[in-house]
Amino acid sequence: MALPATRPSGAVPSGAVLSADQLLELYYYLRLTRTLEERLVALYRQTKVIGGLFRSLGQEGESVASAYALERGRHRDILSPLIRNLGSLLVMGAQPIEILRQYMAKADSPTRGRELNVHFNDLEKGYLGQISHLGDMIPVMAGIALSFKLRAEPRVGLVYIGDGGTSTGTFHEGLNLAAVQRLPLVVIGEYNHWAYSTPPEKQFAVKDLAEKAKGYGVPSVTVDGNDVFAVYEATRFAVERARRGKGVHFIEVKTYRRKGHAEHDDQHYVPKTDLESWAKENDPIDRYTQRLLTADLITEGDLKDIDDRVRVEVDQATDACVNDPLPTSESALPGVYVDPPAADKLWFKVL
């Protein structure tokens, strides 16, 4: 399978200006994403991660770069990540300890053990967790963007959809509504070549996801998803365009899922040569650091400092929660409604 198309199919203005600190910060989030996932793998193998573990290996670049193009802070832009957008969540301010607690179903996890992995949210910081029904977050994020429009707030929503997810009705229905209403919404279409075990040619008959967006009058562009700068620039352009009231924009990022659907999946359906070439020649973090080192924008020492810092942070976060308790059984009952405040305990539980 070929390396991703690097040709942009629409105008991507170049010249994104990132300070030295920002360049290092981007590297920090890239490294944090990968190191945190590696820690989760270790915890999974120790059976401390209760459910499935979903890796974003090879997709950290597009996740981090797209989120980094948003305005962050309290009550600023809002994004909705997918299972492989751990990097986006971290950029928006989710803490490693929250991710660890979620995966280990701890009582103090953001969802108090009710939901899995990255399915949690903090609307003040600017992230809304997905549900497992792919496509559903497109209409919901259209609604978030609608609230920005109705209140005339200069805020933008950003939502991710996978190549497989673009086959759902809700993707199309949400995109169409957002387009008609000219909502400030940016949609990132992640062409990572695998929807569980299903390749693109069995998922859709178009070549690029960007073609789908055009059917709704939504401008779209295809970029190299493993080029941090290309993704950042394309997203920055789309976000600022949306902020100016120009409506929805779709960015297709070509990338590659280098692990199975989840940790249990041995990827026997994926050509080994693909995995090798994407790892060796097209790793988003390697490409990013090579580019910065070649241009003398950072030093090996800078990178090592960040690597060390990340390792300490992940160690500390793990130590701080790994032995924490699971939620108490009866904490399952409150919070379905505001009123009644808790579901009744059933009669046979009190015999």
Partner: protein
């Protein structure tokens, strides 16, 4: 006092809430310029503007999903399903996304999904449905189903003010068929979760809601006159959460229960009510809990077919007479 139809009371309720609270807005198909297929939102676009009365594409999933997103952000969307039959297109969004949001993620989703339901109007299979049983099984949703003019207004206002998502079912057969004097200037808020005794009685209880509430009342009158049987009629008003206390109270009073609903029989709400009575008031029963419902077929178009399939006043009279004699 002003005499209002069911539909006018509903319209007035939404109007008052939009005047009171600028966070309230409407979205749906043909709700703006056209004023809604049944004219529930007639005049709203002119008064409140296009930004608060939003005409959407034909997409119930997008309407409900966008309403949820806006509700998370503190707005109070009122989403119209043009006919409630089409709510099935948003079933995923309502059951998986909206209903679970508070529990799984602590998200507040104060929104109303409302629309015309029910038969007796020759609407055929796709304009006559009662979808309540499909959603009763979903923790996180509330379901209200007003039968009176007063409750049409009082329940829409309470639904809009509720902090959780509410499905508001409005029977199109009642829209312009029933009228009631409502005092002007009085704030009418029907509490969600409370049933109402629509008619006091001693010998037998009929539990119902919506259009069949009126058919049950008609049957009760006939039984009183023809048989001297005193029938109590309970109007549930809210289906989820169900008012167990009111149900148990009427069972303890009359000891015989007939449950009447327009929806089909198998898996219908009557089964749930019967189970609750069995668990909570078994020893008070002097006869089997019986059901009058639609037959288990899609709702047909021809009058001869629809009238046979849906429960009629005569059916209720016969069933209640049988139960009274048990």
């Amino acid at each position: 006092m002003a005499e209002l139809t069911f539909l006018e009371a509903l319209r007035q309720g939404i109007w008052e809430e939009m005047e009171r609270d600028e966070r309230v807005f409407i979205l749906g198909e043909d709700v703006g310029a056209y004023g809604g297929a049944f004219k529930v939102t007639d005049g709203f676009s002119k008064r409140f503007g296009e930004s608060r009365v939003i005409d959407t594409p034909i997409s119930e999933a997008a309407i409900v999903g966008a309403a949820a997103g806006a509700a998370h952000m503190g707005l109070r969307p009122v989403a119209e399903m043009q006919f409630i039959d089409f709510i099935s297109c948003a079933y995923d969004m309502l059951t998986n996304y909206v209903a679970t949001a508070r529990y799984r993620a602590g998200l507040s989703t104060p929104m109303v999904v409302r629309g015309p339901c029910g038969g007796y109007v020759r609407g055929g299979p796709f304009h006559s449905q009662n979808p309540e049983a499909a959603f009763l099984h979903t923790p996180g949703l509330k379901i209200v189903y007003p039968a009176t003019v007063r409750d049409a207004k009082g329940l829409i206002k309470s639904s809009i003010r509720d902090e959780d998502p509410v499905l508001y079912l409005e029977h199109k057969w009642l829209y312009r068929r029933i009228k009631e004097q409502l005092p002007e200037g009085e704030e009418i808020l029907t509490p969600i979760g409370q049933a109402r005794i629509a008619r006091e009685g001693k010998h037998l209880s009929i539990i119902s809601y919506g259009a069949t509430l009126w058919k049950s009342l008609e049957a009760a009158d006939q039984l009183e006159k023809a048989d001297g049987v005193s029938v109590e009629v309970l109007d549930l008003r809210t289906l989820l959460p169900m008012d167990d206390a009111a149900i148990v109270a009427t069972v303890k009073k009359t000891n015989k229960v007939l449950i009447v609903h327009e929806d089909t029989r198998t898996g219908g709400i009557a089964g749930e009510i019967a189970a609750r009575i069995n668990e909570q008031a078994f020893e008070w029963l002097d006869g089997p809990i019986m059901r009058v419902t639609a037959h288990d077929v899609p709702i047909p178009y021809a009058p001869t077919l629809e009238d046979f399939v849906l429960p009629q006043t005569d059916d209720i009279v016969k069933a209640a007479r049988w139960l009274a004699a048990y």
